[in-house]
Structure formats: structure tokens, C-alpha cells
């Protein structure tokens, strides 16, 4: 009890420090408002707002139809370019897709001779290219069939594709979860790590160490206080920005998502404490932070699917709490999963957090004496 009250009172000091730091407050505000929404709306690899150009050598009613059939949100309104400019423009990355409609295209089709359309895709954006080519193909086929007034051939076996959990496939749904997690990770690591380093730079850590406090209490105070600040911002951002403003529905229980976030904050802030213990100066801390946060954000499954990671990366990314967060976050937010489904992920995250915390406590006193 006394132990906990010490952690509580020490934590109130942390809260005051964070809340009185104007610059940090601005960063936090920016991250959880515009940061979240801008990133959410731009993320994902789906074909969205793809830039298209058409080299129309036919200039027939059919080619005009194809032109108007490509429209937002999948495609931008197509531009018309000359065939000679095609390579340069693709080299500059101006267009993702260039469709070349050959001369006498419509005429050949009417004559039943068959014709070929060339679709050039900039395959440096791998998944957008392959998906987009498929979309363009079906759009062209549809327009040609309608133009030729060919009857819809009844398919013998119809494939009904149904997406569970995000039927419309709106990228911003998943994107908002990922960007919330990214901001969460970055800020809680920075806050806790910097709080520890600041104590060391100002010499106040020595003051704490000569008081009847254990390293665990000092670390726990930082974890709960900074975690709480971020939890409040996270919740506000989830409800106000993601749910209300961006209109992303959450299928499962918000309480469960909150519980998972609390566990995740523990793990992430333990990483912050660990980095703050290892680093000797703010510059070193910043570099370590980049080395940690980049993989946490990029290998979490938010930017590219975890299943695609090669086997030798998988064990490494399993150690990242963010990967588990994405897994249970998706399950709760979109699939409406309950506690019975997500508890293993919770357990793994809590376990990872405990390991990082234990490691920093081991290094704590050693780092103090080296710094003294």
C-alpha cells in the first residue's frame, strides 16, 4: 500500500511536468488530431485516386466511353497524352497507369476481328499496380461489351465475393487504427524516455535515488503518468477524430479496445524507460528512438501485411508489441471480437512489457554510476 502510494505521488509530479511543458503539449495535440487524420486518409495500398493517362489513337465513341468510365475514387480523371510523351511521363512518376488505345480499335471490334489494348503500369508501386491493372481490365471489358451491345453471358457458377468487417474496403478505417497506434507508440516512448533522461541531465535522479525509493517505483511512476496522458489523448482522438469526424465505425467494445491500449501503453512506455536508461544523451536517445520506432511502425502489419514478412523477420517482428496491437486492434474494432478471442495477444504484450522493464531496472543503477 505504501509502495503504491509512493508510486502514485511520484507520478503526480510527472503529470505536472508533462502538462506544463508547452512544446510537448503542441506535439501531442498535433499528433492526435491532424497527424492521425492525414495519415489515415493517405495510407493503404489499395488503388485509390490513382493517376491515369490515356493515349487515344482511336478517337472513337468507344475510346471516349472508356475515358469517362475511369473516375474517382479509384482513379483520377484521365489525362490525354501523346504516345511520344508516354515514357518520359512515366519516368517522372507523373502517371501510375497509361492506357494505349490503338488506331481503328472500335472498328476492329465491330468487325469482329478482336483488338488489343495496352495497359502500362508503374510496377514500382507493386500492389497498386497489380490491383489497378485488374480494375482497368474489367472496366474496359464492361465498356466494350456495352458498346457492342453483347448480351450478358450468364455465368454458370457465380462467385459472390463478400468482405467481412469492412465491406466497402474503405482504406481510412484500417488506416485510422494504424495511425492512432503509430502516434501512440511514438509519443509514449518519447515522453517516458525523455522524462527519465531529463531527470538525469538535471541531476534530480540522484535526489530520487537517495530517497527511500526503488528503481521500480521510479520507473512505474513514469509509466503510469505518461501512459495516462497518452491514454486520454488516444481516447479523445478515437471518439472525436476517428469515430465522429472520420465516421469510422467500431464493431467491438470500446472498453476492450481501451483495456488493450492500457496494456500496450505499459509495454511501449517500458520500452521508453529502457531507451532512456541506455542512452547517455538526448541525441543518442533520439537516434535510438528512430531505430526503435521505425520498425515498430513499419513491421506492425499496418504498412504491409505481417504474413508477407520472410521467415527470418517473423520472430523479430513477433517481439514488437505493435504487431500484437494491430492484431487485436483489428479483431476488436472491425471483427467485433471479444475478450475470449484477444486475450492471448494481451498476454504477449504484457509479457514483452515486463521483459523490457526488467531489463531497464537491471541497467538502471549501472547507468547512474557510469554517468556520475
Amino acid at each position: 500500500m505504501r509502495w503504491l502510494s509512493t508510486v502514485f505521488w511520484l507520478g503526480t509530479k510527472e503529470l505536472r511536468s508533462v502538462l506544463r511543458d508547452t512544446v510537448m503539449a503542441i506535439f501531442i495535440l498535433w499528433s492526435f488530431t491532424l497527424g492521425v487524420s492525414m495519415k489515415a486518409q493517405s495510407s493503404g495500398e489499395t488503388v485509390n485516386n490513382a493517376s491515369v493517362a490515356i493515349v487515344d489513337q482511336d478517337r472513337s465513341a468507344l475510346s471516349a466511353r472508356i475515358d469517362t468510365a475511369l473516375y474517382p475514387p479509384y482513379f483520377q480523371m484521365p489525362d490525354h497524352i501523346a504516345v511520344s510523351d508516354m515514357d518520359t511521363l512515366m519516368d517522372e512518376g507523373a502517371y501510375m497507369f497509361v492506357i494505349v488505345i490503338p488506331p481503328r480499335f472500335a472498328a476492329d471490334l465491330i468487325a469482329g476481328r478482336g483488338a488489343a489494348v495496352q495497359v502500362n503500369a508503374d510496377a514500382t508501386a507493386v500492389s497498386q499496380a497489380s490491383l489497378g491493372v485488374g480494375y482497368i481490365q474489367s472496366i474496359i471489358n464492361e465498356e466494350v461489351a456495352r458498346y457492342l451491345d453483347a448480351p450478358d453471358q450468364p455465368a454458370v457458377v457465380d462467385l459472390v465475393l463478400r468482405r467481412s468487417f469492412n465491406e466497402a474496403g474503405i482504406a481510412a478505417w484500417f488506416g485510422s487504427l494504424v495511425s492512432l497506434l503509430d502516434q501512440l507508440t511514438m509519443l509514449v516512448i518519447i515522453l517516458t524516455g525523455a522524462a527519465l533522461l531529463r531527470e538525469r541531465e538535471h541531476g534530480t535522479i540522484e535526489h530520487l535515488m537517495v530517497m527511500p525509493l526503488s528503481s521500480l517505483q521510479i520507473a512505474m511512476a513514469k509509466i503510469w503518468a505518461n501512459g495516462l496522458v497518452i491514454l486520454v489523448c488516444f481516447s479523445a482522438s478515437l471518439v472525436l477524430i476517428v469515430q465522429a469526424w472520420m465516421e469510422v465505425p467500431v464493431a467491438g467494445s470500446l472498453g476492450l479496445l481501451g483495456l488493450g491500449t492500457v496494456i500496450y501503453l505499459f509495454a511501449a512506455s517500458a520500452i521508453g524507460v529502457f531507451l532512456g536508461t541506455v542512452a547517455r544523451s538526448m541525441a543518442q536517445f533520439a537516434l535510438l528512438m528512430i531505430i526503435t520506432i521505425f520498425p515498430m511502425q513499419m513491421l506492425s502489419g499496418g504498412m504491409s501485411p505481417v504474413q508477407s514478412q520472410p521467415d527470418f523477420i517473423q520472430p523479430f517482428s513477433w517481439l514488437l508489441p505493435s504487431r500484437h496491437y494491430i492484431e487485436f486492434g483489428q479483431a476488436i474494432a472491425f471483427r467485433g471480437a471479444g475478450f475470449d478471442v484477444v486475450w492471448p495477444e494481451f498476454l504477449v504484450i504484457a509479457g514483452l512489457g515486463t521483459i523490457f522493464l526488467a531489463a531497464s531496472l537491471l541497467l538502471f543503477r549501472r547507468s547512474l554510476s557510469a554517468g556520475g
Binding site: G114, A283, I291, E327, A337
Partner: protein, 918 residues
């Protein structure tokens, strides 16, 4: 206010200066006589440093007039002309020195800033170091010098260009008496040779005041009085300067002041409060404390004296359990000091050199937090806090934040904090450094009360002999060893001298046969420090942009980076690891799609339909499920990406041409993955139908159709790595150089070496460019490392122009470091600098530069951010040269746009960076 009668070097009229709401100078007017040694006297926080900074031209003038050497310091042209004739040594031990650089390198750097030739620099450095006794230490880093030696080196750096006006801000604060005496002898020696040089020195040591030709006494931003020391003594009728100063203070401020009286110490209990036996602490091969032993009686005031860096602080830290001794033992109350012993911690209070207060908490919050942490009850805390606030005279500051308190008040608070829990031992590390005499005496009254009336044992370290005299016993420490400990009177007697200071110096000279003796012997050469050789420097050249001065900054920065390689190791090793992990890990190829089916039909046709999925490389088979409900449940658990439901009657429908529907459920939580899986599923489905039709021809003929020729340009096999390989360096090559760069100027501001930029003839462009070049070089090394990995390890071939890639890399390095530089000029602290650099660049770099989402498909704010971010263009160049096989000409536009970033960042940095402090 008496005039000096002679010519003046500086004339100040109605000078006002404030920092926010705090007024530092309040309508100050004074005349500083030329060719004299002028002392600026006053306690901390009365505006001495502000005044000196303004006279030296290092601060921006807010209001009033400052004329120095016949010109107005508000005029930039005059500042540029007179700047090289003034030397300014800011307050703080070694504040203008570069800790990682050696003595020689520090002097070299200052010489280069003043445009001296190599031979001239060499000659001057030899002369200066010979005179100051620094000669044997030319190779030692400035950070490893003792306080006294740091100040001598600072003086040498200030004197390297033969200034006509030398301004020293508290050069002897925190320096032990022996080094202090040597420092003043040195100044006297120089003045003997160059009598025309004007010297202006500020000091908080009143006992030094007698040495000056002319004194200016300052308090609360105003001049109290000025004149020769004799005149001041005569006017106040005081016996010494300390008393004279107190007499000059306004009545309300000196009212509380009275002579400190110490009741004699009567030893009580027999068990000593603190015992040290053979305490030794080694850091690597350096022995900080060597075999230190002493005993301190309960209720005793025990003083600890010695030069800076002699091991006082380390010894104290071992006694508190902050450091564990390498050898020997420490006991408190008869029990060994153990970091885990919480009971002992309750009985000890510690005040470290850097006041351990939380600046962002108020006075009351600091006190009650401390009580909470020692588990005092709420009522007890309230009572104790109130008592301490009254006792320490903190009533009017209760709700002020600790960081905003004047130094003297802050120091009182930091004494109040460790005694909230009424400890029996108080360990104080230099608690009175830089505090004015009145406040110091008040502080001592509190200490005496604690010791004599409450039986608290006090262990204190100090540089003030007047304070040492008040201790019951004192010890002299030198080079990690306690030379002697006894009562002050006994020590004076043992050496047969009059004062403790003389006794101390004798002991020090005895013990420190090494450097102290060398320095003493060289002192006679002090005269050689000054020179009349003015030939080498072309004064006109000082005013123009100088490549050599810029390179001086470059070499200095490079040396500093080389001395602290950890940052570089982090940056290089970190970027390599990140490249490998992310290039392999950020795989956008969707495969191993887990797939399960509910086959309600169980006919040869349905099995053959499913077999076509199992046969696909993309799908991984999971155990089939019995019911659609089970399928839904598995999907919810996230174990399945695709669930296929084949209705009963599938086989019959296929054979007879009756329409049947197969339902494919796809996990849509990750939309991009879902879209790809959709295309796989339709692909397999259509292939199955086509094959089935071929085998079982339908009556209808196929209609005329369009064939689509798909050309996957640049990356025919659609491998993620082909794009990710060259993309990731583009991301890393902005983050690391920008963060490394962002620290550089903010760090100089924090440490104080930025003053060298203010007071030397360095131009802003020289400073910025000079500091940037090393980081451009570092970025280029990183560039080479990363792309070598891309080609050799990731096996992504470079198909286009290497020249375009290298030119792009160079432009990018300038842009990235330029961005870091801009952030660095905008921010005051390193923390803000690194986080601003990291947080602000992370979003545009990761999301808006075409790493995942091509720039051409971005919209709105994201598009704009992408367009104004250099990574977008370098990403084009990197992916362009590698995957698209583009030539220099193809990338012309991207290169031109990328080139535009550096001048913009640099120009903004120039505009933001001020040549003077605010």
C-alpha cells in the same frame, strides 16, 4: 557617482534589459575607465552578466546606450569593427571551451577564427601556454582539466588575438583559492606588459575586490556606487569590502544581516555518524578517490575543501550510496552504506551540486512531494511544510515555480527540501557557490541552528574560506586524497600562518608537487603572454566571408564528432539494421493467404474446384470446417483470410448449367490486403471455369473480346524488394542526418559555446555552413554504405545512372542537414531540437513521399506536404536510377527541385540565426 577623471573605454547610459517579466538592468548608467583593471561587484542575479554581455556586443541591446571604444554598440558596423578588439570570457567554468577538444585544438580554433596564419598561431600558442603552465597539457581534452586550468585556458583563448579590451565574467567562481591566486597573478603579469589594455572583471568574491584599480558595485540592475577601493571604503567607513558592500545595499536588504555566531560544538554520543575507511573509486583507469578515511561525530559540521575535480563530489556520492566504492567501506550510524537499505535513507538528506529541485513544480509542491515520498501523513506534511516555509522565509514564493526563483531563494528551497523528513545527517555539495554574502550568511544560520539545536550532522563542501572557518572540523582534499583533517584553528596553527587560505595553499602546494608547482614556477613568465606583435592579422579580412574561418568550424565539429563516436555508431549501425529489416520486412507481396472451406456439396466437382485453390501458390490450406457458423467464428478470431462456402447442388448446377453461387468471405480489416486477395480468388475461380469449359464444351460460342496486354513497367516480376530496396535509404538518409544536425547548434546554445560565435568575427554563413559540412560528409558516408548494401546484399541492380544517384544523394544530404540546421536555429534546447526534427519529418517522410502510396495519387494536405518535402524527389531519383533505369537527363527535373531545398532551408536558417543573444 564619481567620474574616473581619465578616458573611458565604455560609456553606458540609462541601460534597461529584461527577460520576459524579470528585469535584469533597470536604468543603469556608468562609465568604465580605460587602461585600468575594473571590478564589477555584486551578488548573483543582479544583472552583472547581462551588463557584460551587452558591453561585449554578445547581447541584443533593448533600451539605453552602450558606447564602447568610441562607437555605438547598437550599430552593426561598429560592432563588426570593434569586435575583434574585444575579448569576452563568459561565466561558468570552461563555458567558452569545447570539452572534447584538446587544449591545443581549442587555442588553434580561436586563432583560426581571427585569421591567423599557421606559424603565427603556433608561436602564440607556445607563448600563451608556456606562460600559463598549460604547456605540458596541450593534448588533454579541455573537459578533463581542473576548474582552475579551465579558466586559464579560457583566458588564453580570449587573449590569442591581443584584445584591447578584456571582459571576464566571474572567472574565479567555483575555483579553489590556490588556482584563484594564480589566475590573478597571471592577469597582473599581462597588464604589466600591456598597460594600455582595459580589463573588466565581474566577481562575487568580495575579498578579491581590493585588488582592482576601480570598482563598480551593483545591485538589482543598478549601480550602487563606483570608485577606487580606497574611496569606497572611506565612503562607507567599513573595515573590508564585504562589509562595505553590505553597507551600500539598500536598508531593507541588509537589515536581516548580522554576524554569524556559532555556539561551540560539544561532542555527545560515542558512535560516529559517518565513517569512511579507505574509500576508493576508480572510473576505468582513472582513480577519482583514493583511500579516503575520516570519522564525523553526530551533530558536527564537517567541511570538505579542495580544488575542482579532486573527488569531493564522488566521495559524497559514495556516502549516500549513489555510487558504490571500488574499495574500502563507508558506514552511516554504524551500518554499512547499502543502496538497498531503505531505513538508512530515511535518516539522510542530500543536496547535490545541481540543486535537485523540480523546476516545473512550485515551492509548496516541491516540499510536499518530498514529504509524500518519505511517507509523512497529510497533516504532518502540511505542518512541516508551513514550518519550513516560515523558517526559510519562503512565504512570498509558495506558489512560484522553482525554476523562476532567484538563485538565493532557490538555494534556500533546495536546503529546505531534503530536511522535510527531519534527517539526522545532511550532506551538502557546494551549496553556496555563486550566492551573495548576505544570503550565504542567512543560509549558515539555518545550518548552525540544525546542527546545534537539532543535533543534525552536517557534511558540507565549499570553496569559501570564510565558510570553512565556521566548520567544526575541515578536511583538505587534493587529487582524490584527503591530505589532512582537523579544526580550522589547528590547521592554521600547524602551518604557522595567519589565515586558513594561506594554510590551504601551503597544503596544496605540498601535496600537488606536480602541476601546481609547475604552474607556480611559470608564473614569473606571465609577462610573456602579452605581445606587441600585431603584424600577422589583416584586420580588413576579418570582415569578409572567410573560407578558412568556415573550415575552422568544420574541423572543430569533425573533431568533436570523432571524439564522441557513439552517435555515429548509432546512426551508421542503426541505418544499416533498419535498411535490412525493413527492406525484407516491408514486403507487399501478399501470399500465404490462409484459406478454409465449407464444402456442403461434397461432389467430385466441388472437390476439383477446391483443389484449384489448394494448388495455387498464394493460398495456404487450413483444416476444412463443417458449418458456415464455424467459418464465421474462425474468421472473427482472425485465423482465416478467406472462407469459401460451396453450396449443396454445386456439382449438379455445374453439370446442368443451373446457376449456383459460391460465397467467398474475405477478411476486410486490412483493405489493401483484402483487395489483393479478392483478385486472387477471382483469378482462381475464372481459371477453374475456363478449364472446366474446355473440358466440357458449352453450346454457346465465346463473343469477340478485347485482349489486354499488360506491361508491368520497370518491375516485370512485381517484386516488392525491387522498389523497397532503393526506397528505404531515401527515408533513412533524411532522418539520421537531420537529427544529428539538429542537435549541433542547440547544443552550443545549451552549453554556452555559442558565445564564441557572438563575440568573434565569425559571420553567420561561415558558422552555419562550417557546421553543416561535416554532417554532409557523414550523410554521404552513410549514403555509400546503404546503397552498397542495396546492391550487394539486397541484390537490387543499379540499372540507371550512378552519377544521377550520387548527385541526388549529395543534394539530398545538403537538404536533410539544412532541415536539421533550420530546426536547430529555431530551438533553444537539444530536447526540443531532436523531437521537432524527428516528429515533424516522420509523417511526410513515411507517408507522403511515395514510399507506399505514390505521390501522384495523394490528395489535399498530404499532397502539399509531399510536394514540399525533399524525400519525394530523392525517392524518385533513387527508385528511378535503380528500378526504372533512368539517366541523368531523365531525372533533370527532380534534381533541380531537390537542389532548391538547401538554399531555402539555409536562407531561412540565416534569417533566424542572430549574431547576438537576446
Amino acid at each position: 557617482m564619481a567620474g574616473s577623471g581619465g578616458p573611458s573605454v565604455a560609456l553606458i547610459r540609462d541601460l534597461r534589459h529584461s527577460y520576459g517579466a524579470a528585469v535584469a538592468l533597470d536604468g543603469l548608467s556608468v562609465e568604465i575607465p580605460a587602461g585600468r583593471m575594473v571590478g564589477l561587484l555584486g551578488p548573483d542575479g543582479v544583472g552583472k552578466s547581462t551588463l557584460l554581455g551587452l558591453i561585449a556586443g554578445a547581447r541584443i541591446l533593448q533600451s539605453g546606450e552602450v558606447h564602447v571604444m568610441g562607437g555605438d554598440m547598437a550599430d552593426r558596423r561598429h560592432r563588426e569593427r570593434t569586435g575583434p578588439r574585444i575579448a569576452f570570457m563568459p561565466q561558468g567554468l570552461g563555458k567558452n571551451l569545447y570539452a572534447e577538444l584538446s587544449v591545443f585544438e581549442n587555442l588553434e580554433f580561436f586563432g583560426q577564427l581571427f585569421g591567423q596564419s599557421r606559424a603565427e598561431r603556433r608561436a602564440r600558442i607556445d607563448r600563451l601556454t608556456a606562460a600559463t603552465g598549460l604547456n605540458p597539457f596541450l593534448g588533454r581534452p579541455a573537459g578533463k582539466l581542473s576548474g582552475g586550468m579551465k579558466q586559464k585556458l579560457g583566458l588564453c583563448c580570449a587573449l590569442i588575438h591581443d584584445p584591447d579590451f578584456l571582459i571576464l565574467d566571474e572567472p574565479t567562481t567555483g575555483v579553489d583559492p590556490l588556482s584563484r591566486r594564480q589566475f590573478w597573478e597571471l592577469i597582473d603579469g599581462i597588464r604589466a606588459v600591456r598597460p594600455s589594455m582595459s580589463v573588466l572583471v565581474s566577481t562575487a568574491y568580495m575579498d578579491e575586490a581590493g585588488e582592482f584599480d576601480w570598482l563598480i558595485a551593483m545591485n538589482a540592475g543598478q549601480v550602487l556606487d563606483s570608485g577606487t577601493p580606497e574611496a569606497l571604503l572611506a565612503r562607507t567607513g567599513a573595515p573590508d569590502m564585504e562589509a562595505a558592500f553590505v553597507a551600500l545595499l539598500p536598508r531593507e536588504q541588509s537589515a536581516g544581516h548580522r554576524e554569524v555566531e556559532i555556539p561551540p560544538f560539544v561532542p555527545g554520543q560515542s558512535t560516529p555518524a559517518i565513517v569512511a575507511r579507505g574509500l576508493t573509486k576508480r572510473f576505468g583507469d582513472f582513480t577519482a578517490v583514493s583511500d579516503v578515511s575520516f570519522e564525523i561525530e553526530p551533530g558536527e559540521i564537517f567541511g570538505f575543501l579542495g580544488s575542482n575535480g579532486c573527488g569531493k563530489t564522488t566521495t559524497m556520492k559514495m556516502l549516500t550510496g549513489l555510487l558504490s566504492p571500488s574499495d574500502g567501506a563507508a558506514e552511516v550510524f554504524g551500518k554499512p552504506v547499502d543502496a538497498r537499505n531503505m531505513a538508512v535513507r530515511h535518516r539522510v538528506g542530500f543536496m547535490s551540486q545541481s540543486f535537485s529541485l523540480y523546476g516545473e513544480l512550485t515551492v509548496r509542491e516541491n516540499l510536499s512531494l518530498h514529504g509524500r515520498l518519505f511517507h509523512l501523513g497529510a497533516a504532518q506534511i502540511a505542518a512541516r511544510t508551513d514550518a519550513l516555509i516560515a523558517q526559510f522565509g519562503l512565504a512570498e514564493y509558495v506558489d512560484a515555480r522553482a525554476a523562476s526563483l532567484p538563485l538565493g531563494i532557490r538555494q534556500r528551497l533546495s536546503l529546505a527540501v531534503p530536511i522535510v523528513h527531519e534527517p539526522e545527517i545532511l550532506i551538502l555539495d557546494e551549496p553556496t557557490s555563486g550566492v551573495d554574502p548576505v544570503a550565504r550568511d542567512q543560509f549558515w544560520e539555518l545550518l548552525i541552528d540544525l546542527s546545534r539545536n537539532q543535533g543534525v550532522t552536517i557534511f558540507i563542501s565549499t570553496h569559501f574560506m570564510s565558510e570553512a572557518m565556521r566548520c567544526d572540523r575541515i578536511s583538505f582534499m587534493h587529487a582524490g586524497q584527503v591530505m589532512v583533517y582537523d579544526t580550522p584553528a589547528a590547521l592554521v596553527e600547524a602551518k604557522g600562518v595567519d589565515t586558513l587560505e594561506e594554510a590551504f595553499i601551503l597544503y596544496m602546494e605540498e601535496a600537488g608537487a606536480g602541476d601546481a608547482a609547475v604552474e607556480g614556477a611559470r608564473m614569473a613568465d606571465g609577462a610573456r603572454i602579452a605581445t606587441d606583435d600585431q603584424s600577422g592579422t589583416d584586420k580588413g579580412a576579418l570582415l569578409r566571408f572567410s573560407v578558412s574561418r568556415m573550415l575552422a568550424y568544420t574541423f572543430r565539429e569533425l573533431t568533436e564528432v570523432r571524439r564522441d563516436p557513439v552517435r555515429l555508431v548509432f546512426a551508421f549501425a542503426g541505418s544499416v539494421i533498419l535498411l535490412l529489416i525493413m527492406a525484407f520486412g516491408m514486403n507487399q507481396d501478399v501470399d500465404e493467404v490462409t484459406f478454409a472451406a465449407v464444402d456442403l456439396d461434397q461432389t467430385p466437382e466441388s472437390r476439383s474446384y477446391l483443389a484449384s485453390y489448394y494448388g495455387s501458390l498464394y493460398f495456404t490450406e487450413a483444416p476444412p470446417l463443417a458449418t458456415p457458423q464455424a467459418l464465421t467464428r474462425r474468421m472473427q478470431e482472425g485465423g482465416l483470410s478467406v472462407g469459401l462456402e460451396i453450396p449443396s447442388g454445386f456439382g449438379r448446377g455445374l453439370r446442368q448449367g443451373n446457376p449456383v453461387e459460391v460465397l467467398a468471405q474475405i477478411d476486410g480489416a486490412n483493405p489493401s490486403r483484402a483487395a489483393t486477395i479478392e483478385s486472387y480468388v477471382s483469378g482462381v475461380h475464372n481459371t477453374f471455369l475456363r478449364d472446366w469449359r474446355t473440358e466440357n464444351p458449352a453450346p454457346l460460342a465465346a463473343p469477340a473480346s478485347v485482349t489486354q496486354e499488360t506491361r508491368m513497367v520497370y518491375n516485370p516480376t512485381s517484386e516488392s524488394l525491387m522498389t523497397m530496396g532503393p526506397s528505404i535509404p531515401a527515408m533513412l538518409l533524411i532522418m539520421f542526418p537531420a537529427i544529428l544536425m539538429a542537435v549541433s547548434i542547440a547544443r552550443e546554445k545549451e552549453i554556452g559555446t555559442i558565445t564564441n560565435f557572438y563575440v568573434t568575427p565569425t559571420r553567420r554563413a561561415e558558422f552555419l555552413l562550417g557546421k553543416q559540412l561535416p554532417y554532409v560528409a557523414i550523410a554521404m558516408i552513410n549514403f555509400a554504405m546503404l546503397y552498397a548494401l542495396v546492391v550487394l546484399v539486397l541484390q537490387v541492380p543499379l540499372q540507371g545512372s550512378l552519377l544521377a544517384l550520387v548527385i541526388g544523394g549529395l543534394l539530398y544530404a545538403f537538404a536533410a542537414t539544412g532541415y536539421g540546421l533550420l530546426i536547430s536555429t529555431l530551438t533553444k534546447s537539444q530536447v526540443t531540437a531532436v523531437f521537432a526534427a524527428a516528429i515533424l519529418s516522420m509523417l511526410p517522410t513515411m507517408s507522403f513521399s511515395g514510399l507506399i502510396q505514390p505521390v501522384s495519387t495523394l490528395e489535399g494536405g498530404a499532397r502539399v506536404m509531399g510536394l514540399f518535402w525533399p524525400t519525394s524527389y530523392f525517392m524518385q531519383i533513387s527508385v528511378g536510377t535503380f528500378t526504372k533505369g533512368l539517366s541523368l537527363g531523365d531525372l533533370r527535373n527532380d534534381l533541380i527541385l531537390l537542389a532548391a531545398f538547401f538554399p531555402v532551408f539555409f536562407g531561412l536558417g540565416l534569417a533566424v540565426l542572430k549574431k547576438q543573444e537576446k
